[in-house]
Structure formats: C-alpha cells, structure tokens
Amino acid sequence: MNTSLRHLFGLFAAMLVAGCVDPMSAETAVPIDGTTYRISPPVVTEGSELTVDIMRDIRRCKQVFSNPDRYDANAFESHEDRLERCLPRVDRASGQVELSFRLAQRDNANRGLILPLQKDHVRVRHMEREVPHFELERYGRADAGQLFILLVDATHTMGLADSQGITRLQRVINAILGAKNTILAPGSAVAVLRYGTEISGTAGQPISEVVPVTTAAELKAELEAIKNPRGFTELYGAVSQAVGPLLDADTAISRFLSERDMQPTVVLLTDGFNNRHRRERCGDNAPKLADTLQNLRAARQKPPSQRPVLYTVGFGAPPFRPGWVAPKDDISVTPEQLCGEFVHNFIDGELDAVSIDNVSLLWLAEVGGGEGFIKPHVGQIREALADTAPQRFTWYRVKYRVDPFYHRSSFNSRIVLTQFVAADASVMIHPSPWFDVPTGLPTEEGAEEGARWVKPGDIRRATSFTVPLLGGFIVLGFLGSALFNTRRALFRRAKRSSKKKK
C-alpha cells in the first residue's frame, strides 16, 4: 500500500511538474502581478526606429529603475508605489488595460531614451483595432540637452507699431526673453535666426556662422541685433534651411549639436503667410509647401537623437481657415487643401493683412513632429514658447479600456509611436478563463471625462467574500436542527390534562 501510494504521489508530482511553465524560456508568458492574467514578451515590429520596451514583470521594472535619478525616484511615495505604476495592470470587469513602457535604442535596449513623448504621438491598438480613448501618463521627468533654433520673422509687417508705439518685433523679442527660463533651462541653448526674403543670423551674418547662446544676456544681445525688419516672408525656405543645411553642413550649430549631444528643436515664429512677391496668390504656395514638407520629412528620417522637431507659432492675427486640422501622413498639398475658398486670393495686402496662414503652420508642425500654436495676440507667444520646450520623460504608462468582451480570449495590445518617432511594439496578454481577482474600484481619475479609471482589485477582498459565504453555509448547516428544536420547544409543549381542566 505504501509503495502504491508513493507511486501515486510520484505520478501526481510528475503531472504537476510536467504542467508547469519554464520561467527561463524567453517565450514564456509571465504572470501579471496581482492578477490572473499572463503577459508574453513584447515584440518590436520590424522597421521600428526605437525599441518600445513594454515592462511586463517586476524583474524588468527593478532593472529599469536601477538608476534612481534617471527614473525619478522622488516622484513616488515609495519604491512599491513606483513598482505599482510600472507593472502591467488589467481589470477584466471594466476592460481596463495598463501598460508601462520606455523607449530605447534598437541596437542597445539597455540605454533608455529621454524624449518629450506626448499623447498625440502615441496610438494604442487592442487586437489591431484602434483604441480611441486612452491616457498617457509620463514618468521620470528628466532634463536633456536641447538646442532651440528660433526662426524669427523679420519682415516688414513685424516693424509695424501698435497703438502703444511698440513694434510687433519688439513684442516678440520681449516674449522670447520672458520665456528664457524655459528655453535656457540647464543643459539647453538657443540659436536665433531671422528670416525675411532671406534667412540669416540676427545681425545678417550667414547661417553657418550663427553660434548658439547659453545665457540670458547673450540671448538678449542676439535678439536686439535684429534691426530693420523688411522684405517678404520666405517662410518655407527658412524651414527648409533650418532643418536641412543648417544641421547637415559644417556649421557652428551642427558642430555645437554633435559636441554636446543635443537634439535640435526648431521654432518658427511668424505673423503671416509665405510670400515672395506682391502678385502671389494663396494657391501658388501649394507646390512650395509640398516641397518644404518633403524636405522636412527627409530631415525627420535621421536617427531619433539627431532628428529635428519643428514647432510653429503664428501670432498677431486670427487664422485664415479656423478649425482646420492637419492631415496625418499626407504631404501632397493641393491649392484647395491649402487655401480652401481662398485659392485665388492675393496674399500680400489681402490675406496677410487680416490673417495668418494657420494651415501651413499646422501642417509643417504635424510633419515636423512638433505642434502648431496659433496665438492671435502677440502676448501669448510666451506660453507657446513654453510649450515648445516640452518636458522629457524616461518612461510612460498607457491606460485604456475596451469592452470586457475582448477579455474573453488572449489579446494583443499594441503601442504605436507616430509623428515623433516611428516605433511599434506589441504584447500578447492571456486572461485566465476561470479565475479573476476582485473587480477594481472606480477612482477619481478620469472622472472629468465621464469615464472613471479603476484601481485594480485587491486579492484580499476574495477572503472577505469567501469567509462570510462559508460562514453562511455553516450557519445553514446548523440552522435546520436549530429551527426544528426551537419550533418544537415553542409549540410541542405538554397539553393540560382533562382533569386539570375540570
């Protein structure tokens, strides 16, 4: 009997071991902490410029956080709190999925990149379907070297004085100086170029000789060197020059960038339209804008660390086509696309007298990986400049929700980075078909949008569910005899005898 039992237990143990997963295998899906889900290793799509490193287990999170300064240790209440944010989380009842990721070089996955990734740069797909509503949380705020190349409009309209006798150019200069703390943050520098009919340094020197400045005093001197705004607005040319020859040729700026390992951020400031001569109509700008977008796209093919980002700031007048939204991944410009009903309108003295070319600015920013700001008042330039120096982060967390129906089988979550860099990675997540942790509780997060995010449920709640239910069964087990005895005690008492009745 003992031998048979030993064999039986041996068989049982062998079955259990045979059914266990191999934790050392790279392909193995690891359990998601605190859930009944498992997550497979992330797969970076062929052709991605960067590795989207989706952090799937505590080991990876600890490895990533081994450099506390780089990963913003102080931003969390505790190490556990940070790990909590790093680990994937899934809540079946609400269909909520949370994944943390960081960006790293393709050839060196251990070297994380510090990038100003924003929600607009990210797309999330669940089972290859676009998730319309998601949230991007950014963590590990870090300062990274950044060179701002300011392209300041120095055309004749900038020399016009307002009712207070202050020129538009002077207001722009004041706004830039007001934003000095942002654009001259530690490790950053600023190069100022002026453009009108031609692009040059602030004092008119060739762009190859423009030297970036790193102090507020130097910046002020640079800006005050811009005199005599005049000529037409060679806006497209200025952009092409700034993202092309200025960075590629042997210029002071390109040397500065390579010496200091900085990323260039080009900021275009303008109050009008691209315009070369008086008889130019709006539609004439379409092929020129297409060429510029082509140049911009070519410049954006560089490695991510050298890739320029273009922000555009239009000011001084309302947009000529309000509400226009730049198309994604489209650089074939037609006159109708650019001008709408204003194809045949003259620019000089007609369109640029009352409006700014928001279409070109937004389109350039879209292709340039940045953002376009249309600020009718010159005083708002300072805010726009602050936004052109976006905060950079070391890791991110995507949070989205789908119908719980899509948690009824293994599913694929894909994080796609567009615009800023082209990167793409996905993970397979495997829900348990039988078990789940207690349903998450709604939090205040997302309440404003009408869809509260949930905090994943705590497994300890399972005990508080089981114990009362078990207690109920035990009580019911005794209840039958208790009720029976009580009933008999109350109603089966002795009847009074007939003698006593008499």
């Binding site: 191999d22 287990d57 089988s409 078909p433 039988w434 078990f435 497994i459 089981t466 005899s481 002795a494």
Partner: protein, 371 residues
Amino acid sequence: MNIFLVPHTAFRHVAVAFLTGAVPLVIWWFLLNWQVVLGPWLFQAGLLWDPMFEGTILFSLMAGAIAWVHISAECGLRRRAIAWKILLPFLAALFSFLLTGVLVFANAVLTPLIVGLIDPSLGEILADPSTATYRFRLLDWIFAGTMISVFTLLVRVGWGFVGGLSPYIPESIAAVFEVPAQPAKVGLWMSLEHLLAGPSAALIGAAVWHILSHIVIKDMYLATALGFTSFGFCFGLIAWGVPSDLYAGWIRVLSSHRFGHRIPIDTPEGGVVERVVGHYPRGLDLWIGAEHGVAELHASFVRATDGAYTVRGLSQHPIKLKRALESVDLSYEPTSPVPLETDLRMEDRVMIGPKKQQTIVEFIMLPKEER
C-alpha cells in the same frame, strides 16, 4: 457530518448540499490565492502551471473535492469505521480527480486539433487556453459532473459488495473494520439519480458561470466562485439526500400525564415492528391509564418491511390522526373485517379518547442512534 444535526424534515434533503456547495468555494479561494498571491514566486521557481493546465487542475480538484465530501458525509452520518471514512471518500475523490483531469486535458488538446481539421479558425480559438465561453467550456463542466456521478455511485455500489462479502471475511477482520453484515442495496432509481445529478449540476454550474461572467454582472471573479458553488450545491441536492433509513420512528406522549414518555418503533434487528398503546395492564408497549381516555387496546403503530410507518385504530373509542389541514378518523368500525390504518409522517399527532379525556401522542422520526 452528524446525524443529530440533521432533523428528519425537508432540511435533510439540503444538508449534504450545503457541504458540497461550500467545498468548491474553498477550492476556488485556494486556487485563486495560489495563482495570484503565490503565482509570481511559483513562476520563478518553475512551479506555476501552464495556462493549458489551468482548467484541468481546477476541474480535477473540484471533482475530487466534491466527491470526497459527498461520500465523506454519508460515512459520517452512518458512523462508519475510521478506515472506511478515509478509504471510501479517497477512492471516489481519486478516480474523480484523475479521470476528470484526463478528460478535461484531452478536451483542451484534442478538440482544437479535431475541430481545426474542419474549421482552422475555430480550431485556433479553441486552442487558446484563455478562451472563456460557455460553448467551448461546457464539455469540461460535463466531464467533471459525470465523473463525480460515476465514481460516487461506484463507491456506493462497491460498499454494497463489501456487505455481500461479509460471510467470507474472518470475524476478527470484520470486527476491526466494521464490515456490514448485509449487502447494501443501491436501487435503480438511486443509480439514475446519481448518474443524472453530476451532469445536471454541471449544466447549472456552467450556466451560472456564464450568466455572471458574460451577461448579468460580467464579473469573472464572482462567476467562477458562484458557478462552482452552484455546481457542488446542486450535485449534493440531487444526488443523495439523507435517507430515511438513518432514522427510526418513535411515539411520544404530548399530554401532561406522562409527558415526554417515548418508545421507539424499531428493533436492532429491523424487520416488522408493532407497538400497541392502551391501558391493558400487561405487555403493552405504551401504557396509559383509562382515566386518560385510552381503551385497553386502543392503537397500534407499525413499521413495515419497507420502512413505512402506519397507525391503526384498534378500538371503537375515538382515535384521530391530525396533521396540518388533515384529520383521519381511525375508530374501529365493527362491520369492517380489518381495523382502519393510515400512513404516519413526521410530527403527526394521534388524539386518543374522547375530547374531554384525550391523550395526545405524536409520531416523530429520530436518528437511529437516539436512545
């Protein structure tokens, strides 16, 4: 489980179900904590099961546990020897566990292959261990239910054989292991009940699981807990209620004269038993004085061979059986060749004698161990 805690009321039909319903809840809680709390450590140690085995382990353990407590409950109620209390539930649990495991695993591996030959896309869905749908998981439930049914029934049938073999077992051994002297009968009806109980309970459990996880509250956490609890509960409810042969009928005086005096309608040897109530001074089972309205030989209480209890009126003096909304006059009819009799049920009251001198006795079923 203790027979003294199970009165012979409708409750006895659900007493085992409470037990078989509670056990899956414990198994669920244990497995959930195993996977969630210990999962990461077990994974690192290479001891966390592959997702493909999750259903196999869950159903095997559920089937084994339900089979164990189901047989164990009967062993407890019948006060079997400790060896039987361990061996019988163990056998039922072991075979239910193993066979359920084999079938559920085979379903997980072979069904996608076979279905995949006809419809590759459906085969792919079935091959995904995470797929959680009623359609594709129903077979697992039915396998578990059927295995519990089959092996708990086989253990009961096997116990009957043990009784049949008793003449061939040496007395010393029979005494130690308390081998029953008579073979226990497992009737056809009981066998059918058993065989249908598992699959029926499985269908109910699967339906609860599906409705709660995908239709009503859409919560897999509660769905699995309550699905398996329903499964266990329904199996306990359908398969085997506490039978009447564990109880013996008693007559108990309710009148103040001799209040609480009771006699069993039972003998250790079993068979037909008759107890007579009257004031005849000698040899009556329950003597009650004539001043309390009882005739010399007034009533007899009988247990037949099939275990049914009846009461007969032996006197022309009044005698009535009363129960809720019913009253049966059992006074002897002189023109009739036989006395009137009627079936007895738990807590029936028999009113003996005229109204002003009446003695009331009641019929109650108490555990056979009651003395």
